[in-house]
Amino acid sequence: MKIKNAAFAFALAAGIAASAAPAFAQLAEQVPPPRQSWSFSGPFGQFDQAQLQRGFKIYKEVCSTCHSMNLLSFRNLADPGGPGYTEAQAAAVAAEYKIKAVSDSGQPIERAGRLADHFPAPFPNDEAAAAALGKAPPDMSTLAKARSYSRGFPWFIFDFFTQYQEEGPDYISAILKGYKDPPKGFTLPPNGHYNEYFPGHVIAMPPPLQDGQVQFDDGSPATLEQYAKDVPAFLEWASEPHLIQRKRVGFQVMIFLIVLSGLLYFTKKKVWHEVEKPREAAAGQNPAKTSI
């Protein structure tokens, strides 16, 4: 019996220690960004085409002066499940860009962009970007998936069931709106900017968007609040261009698997019924009257 008590005492001690742990969990210096509602969240999420087009406009007019988006091509703008441009519109966008190429005689030239071209980067390499801006800005192709924040226990367990996958867009949105004057006593290093949501609060990027900076044709307000919704949505599409297809196929697969599991369950019951009979008899049931 002594060993039994020891086991219980150990379990108790471990339980107390574990319940004390969350009190120490707030060590990270990152402020969790506020949750936003996104059209593409959840099992039936959809991209809002108008929003992606607004986001692309902001990218083109503002972001792309510093940030590359190397993995995307102009043709992607006309892909199904994306911003919904026609092929002609995407080609027209491509033609606005100058692409470095090699002529038939082997000389370096610049030509108008085509659908198959990737979005050209603003700097030839990271070193050039760092020399011009102080720090090389991250590529935007996978940015919405490459940024996140710690959810902590127990939230990370709920996230699996509630399908919370928008940590990146939430974080990017918070960063765009998170520029503030530093609190008293906070020493800002030269060329640094204070941002509430950036880990450590010192971000190299100056506030990129202000009210009125980009005008929309669809009547949406030209406000930072609006930009901070449209840019993350656009970046989510850029990093997960097949998100809509994924969720649609996923629903079909789920239906199939649930029906299959149900059929297999009843098949199993039927097959095992003969084996279960002696047990049912022992339990006082009449095996002849038990179903399948």
Partner: protein, 408 residues
């Protein structure tokens, strides 16, 4: 694979083949007539699930390899190319990535089940050791596969894990240079990891054959932990085990599909969507979840050599389990004390997993040490002593008796 076959070939061709290569009889005796204990519960379906997952990983992996470029400047972009431009490439890649996690989830259930019901005991020691070898091969394969993505976390995980070998006195640095194929993790490292990541699954498949062979010689253990004594204690593998396994595989696929289609990045590190950069260290280097308990053990010890020794010992010790557990009773059902210590062990293992994801400071280190101590004490002190001092409950006379008693 045991006993004489009762297989009767059904047609002329099969009769002709059976006299030359008795493969029909082998399959029949292994997967049709093979007697399985009638009292197996659903925890026994995870062997079938694991076989299924190995198949899923091999098929998706072989197709992914057709589109992947194992070169350090192109690897990351080639995977993004699969995600973007290959037809259903996103599906293949997410199934392969989530599949690795589900594979480990299944193997952990399978291992805990073996521990709970004493499936490693005489005459199944070799079967258990083959399982430990499979687990080690899985860990190596998964680690190298993770590096192939060549994101920030891939690169730095490769750096941290290979650096563990530098703790070996004298020859450590030479071994690490040899592993890297250079003086840092780089293109040669990526190339050899790719080669090995393609090779090891076939080694795993080979050891799985041995594992199943050993299983079919010794016969399956069961929740009562006693051997079948009469035909009343068993049912043939087909249709009974086949249909039960199929049902559970379908249920398991629902969870896999949930991960793949709805939360594909739930278990992936955001940092791994940043291309590998040797000049920038991520703020936190955290391995995949299935290594976290061992990572916590490593970090709970301040001395590097001792930490690495503890890390490897914590896995190798599993191979000695059949001899560390001195009890003659297999199933925890009849071992009231073992059952408590077993669940404490599960808590310690899962707790270590959580602590492995936390920074090594404050209460996390203290708890890691407590759990690490318990992890080793469970194998080295508790199990040997329990077999001597524990008063076990009386075993049933037969499997069919235990089945009837349980529900009566």
């Amino acid at each position: 694979m045991s006993g004489s076959s009762t297989y009767q070939p059904q047609n002329g061709f099969l009769k002709w083949l059976e006299r030359r290569l008795p493969i029909g009889g082998l399959v029949h005796s292994s997967f049709v007539a093979y007697p399985t204990p009638r009292n197996l519960n659903y925890w026994w379906t995870f062997g079938g699930i694991l076989t299924f997952m190995l198949g899923v990983q091999m098929i998706t992996g072989i197709i992914l390899a057709m589109h992947y470029t194992p070169e350090s400047t192109m690897a990351f972009n080639s995977i993004e190319g699969i995600m973007r431009d290959v037809n259903y490439g996103w599906l293949l890649r997410y199934v392969h990535a989530s599949g690795a996690s589900m594979f480990f989830l299944a193997v952990y259930v399978h291992m805990f089940r073996g521990m709970y019901y004493g499936s490693y005991k005489e005459p199944r020691e070799v079967l258990w050791i083959l399982g430990v070898i499979l687990y080690l091969l899985m860990m190596a394969t998964a680690f190298m596969g993770y590096v192939l993505v060549w994101g920030q976390m891939s690169f730095w995980a490769a750096t941290v894990i290979t650096n563990l070998f530098s703790a070996i006195p004298g020859v450590g640095d030479i071994i690490v240079t040899w592993l890297w194929g250079g003086y840092a993790v780089g293109n040669p490292t990526l190339n050899r990891f790719y080669s090995l990541h393609y090779l090891l699954p076939f080694v795993i498949a080979g050891v799985v054959v041995l594992h199943v062979w050993a299983l079919h010689v010794a016969g399956q253990n069961n929740p009562a932990g006693i051997e079948p004594k009469s035909p009343k204690d068993t049912v043939p593998f087909t249709p009974y085990a086949t249909v039960k396994d199929s049902f559970m595989i379908a249920c398991f696929c629902i969870v896999l599909a949930w991960l793949v289609f709805y939360v594909p990045n739930y278990l992936l590190s955001a940092d791994n969507y940043i291309p590998a950069n040797p000049a920038v260290t991520p703020s936190e280097i955290v391995p995949e979840w299935y290594y976290l308990p061992f990572y916590a053990i490593l970090r709970s010890i301040p001395n590097k050599l001792l930490g690495v020794t503890a890390l490897f010992s914590s896995i190798i010790i599993l191979a000695f389990l059949p001899w560390l557990d001195t009890s003659r009773v297999r199933s925890a059902r009849y071992r009231p004390l073992f059952r408590q210590f077993f669940w404490l062990f599960v808590i310690a293992a899962v707790g270590l997993g959580y602590l492995g994801s936390k920074p090594p400071e404050g209460i996390y280190v203290v708890l890691s040490r407590v759990f690490t101590l318990y992890y080793f004490a469970f194998f080295l002190i508790i199990l040997p002593l329990l077999g001597i001092f524990e008063k076990t409950r009386p075993l049933p006379n037969s499997i069919s008796e235990s089945v009837l008693k349980a529900k009566a």
